[in-house]
């Protein structure tokens, strides 16, 4: 492929700047003329949406921090003060709390897209692993943020999650006391969670830079799962990808706004509007919806240590996905069997999420166990074996051929992906 045009600054100031800090050239080559596969569909817009959500969370979070008090006697009331007295405080807090849900929603769609189209495969392994690190950081940040309002769910979520570390043999109790800074979750715990909740988003921003850097080294995957070969296979990032990202971001914001303005507490447990009480555990402890699948895996296993190990493994196994999937064909479009197992996996993840919200008894536990087995079998058995035995469909010769033979005009969106 030939190189893309080189940045030639027009204004005298930018010419002066370019010789000292070539930031104009960086933006130009990364976000203007950067070649993107011409067949990208709307599932590829969630990276941009995620960057936008990180920005929303940082802006609203920094502002909320100006009104919040990280002290056990004042934390709950300071949040209520934000809701009732601070100008637009209700809006800022609802945007922040629902923003976390939207952030995870976009992240999960982004990950499922990567899995459907095999975006984690060679040479994008590091790109994928950076994404898993981002997910881990998001999970930690979201959890600590949930503790800050110091309601009943905040307190007991903090207790249950920190107690996961007590499953570590020998040093478990010592580690938990160290995390708490006391003999139970208390003021020192709230203080350190607040400090880390403020810090981690900036760590996330740093890892996002690495993620985008790695993306721009290897280039984007695409629905056909084959590399661009000629200039005909790519289009410039601006306007083609820019407008696509911006359009879906606007649609996504409608959903976001619907939650914020119409059902702001739909995703919140009402118990969290009761101030934290260390003497009473609520009847049903449930985490936020975006942790429910992992929570269901934890509860599916009737042994503390193995339950905690399964919980950790369910996330860490994603790191090894590029090597567990032995198929050399990336896109599920050309993998008829894989496509079925993939959609079963999606259903299992959603099913685990639903089971995680149910009490741990009877058939709920039974199904949680069956789904947990499928979750791990998908990575450890199905993907390695499928790559060896599956008869894949013939790949198109080029990205251009894969879209142009359907008669679509240049620059038109690719056909919808999943017809499973």
């Amino acid at each position: 492929m030939s190189g893309h045009p080189i940045y030639k600054p027009r204004s005298a100031f930018m010419q002066w700047m370019e010789r000292r800090l070539p930031i104009g050239g960086l933006v130009y080559s990364s976000f203007i003329v950067y070649p993107t596969p011409r067949n990208l569909n709307y599932w590829w817009t969630f990276g941009g949406i995620l960057a936008f959500m990180l920005g929303v969370q940082i802006v609203t979070g920094v502002v909320l921090a100006m009104h919040y008090t990280p002290q056990v006697d004042f934390a709950f009331n300071s949040v209520e003060n934000i809701m009732r007295d601070v100008n637009y405080g209700w809006l800022l807090r609802y945007v922040h709390s629902n923003g976390a849900s939207m952030f995870f929603l976009a992240a999960y769609i982004h990950m499922f897209r990567g899995m459907y189209y095999g975006s984690y495969k060679e040479p994008r392994e590091v790109l994928w692993i950076l994404g898993v690190i981002l997910l881990l950081l998001m999970i930690m940040t979201g959890f600590m943020g949930y503790v800050l309002p110091w309601g009943q769910m905040s307190f007991w979520a903090a207790t249950v999650i920190t107690n996961l570390f007590s499953a570590i043999p020998l040093v478990g109790e010592t580690v938990v006391t160290w995390l708490w800074g006391g003999y139970a979750v208390g003021n020192p715990t709230l203080n350190r969670f607040y400090s880390l909740h403020y810090l981690l988003p900036f760590v996330i921003a740093g890892v996002v830079v690495l993620h985008v850097w790695a993306l721009h080294v290897v280039g984007q995957n695409n629905p056909a799962g084959i590399e661009p070969k000629t200039d005909e296979d790519t289009v410039a990032f601006t306007p083609y990808a820019t407008i696509k990202d911006a359009f879906l971001m606007a649609v996504f914001c409608i959903l976001f706004a619907w939650f914020v303005f119409y059902i702001p507490n739909f995703l919140v447990d009402p118990d969290n509007y009761i101030p934290a009480n260390p003497a009473v555990t609520p009847m049903h402890i449930v985490p936020e919806w975006y942790y429910l699948p992992f929570y269901a895996i934890l509860r599916a296993i009737p042994n503390k240590l193995f339950g905690v190990m399964a919980l950790a493994a369910s996330i860490l196994i994603l790191v090894f996905l590029p090597w567990l999937d032995t198929s050399r064909v990336r896109s599920a479009r050309y993998r008829p069997l894989y496509r079925q197992f993939f959609w079963a996996f999606v259903i299992v993840c959603i099913g685990l999420g639903w089971l995680g919200s149910k009490p741990p008894e009877g058939n709920y536990v039974l199904f949680a166990r069956i789904f947990t087995v499928y979750y791990f079998a998908y990575f450890l058995i199905i993907l390695p074996v499928l790559g060896k035995i599956e008869r894949t469909k013939p790949l198109p010769n080029s990205i251009a051929e894969s879209v142009l033979k359907t008669g679509a005009p240049i620059g038109a969106p690719a056909p919808p992906p999943a017809k499973a």
Partner: protein, 175 residues
Amino acid sequence: MTTMSSVEPTRRDFLYIATASVAAIGAAAALVPLVAQMNPDASTIAAGAPIEVDLSPIAEGQVIKVFWRSKPIFINHRTKKQIEEAQNVDVAQLRDPQPDSARVKPGHDQWQVLIAICTHLGCIPLADQGPYDGYFCPCHGSVYDTSGRIRQGPAPLNLFLPPYEFLSDTKIRIG
């Protein structure tokens, strides 16, 4: 510039190794306060002094909750039926085998003092609940008997016993 290659270590080699060693020790030493500040501070430890509890107002069959070191403690004045249930258990069948006698003070069978923290993930169990007439944890469904021993559910161990002693027949000191 010519490169000097000699078999003998140079003074620069010595400086390099010495500086790196000091830096490594310095980094390790800097970690000590950074890690130690996370542990309970002096005021938290001081607030964890022993407490005395008067048992005389607790009626038979009643469970009260007191706090020691921010931990909830159940003090259960067990009924005769509960004591018998706790004693007539085949200890070998238990997940964390312990006879009832090892979980109360000798001569004070009716008083059972437990740390009311589920050994699974730290929730507070509910008293007088569950199929064994003992304690039930609402979080993940662990069931304890009237002696606080784990009978069903994901918890690995019996409810822990706090350190305590009887000062008189109706007074205990926890801690």
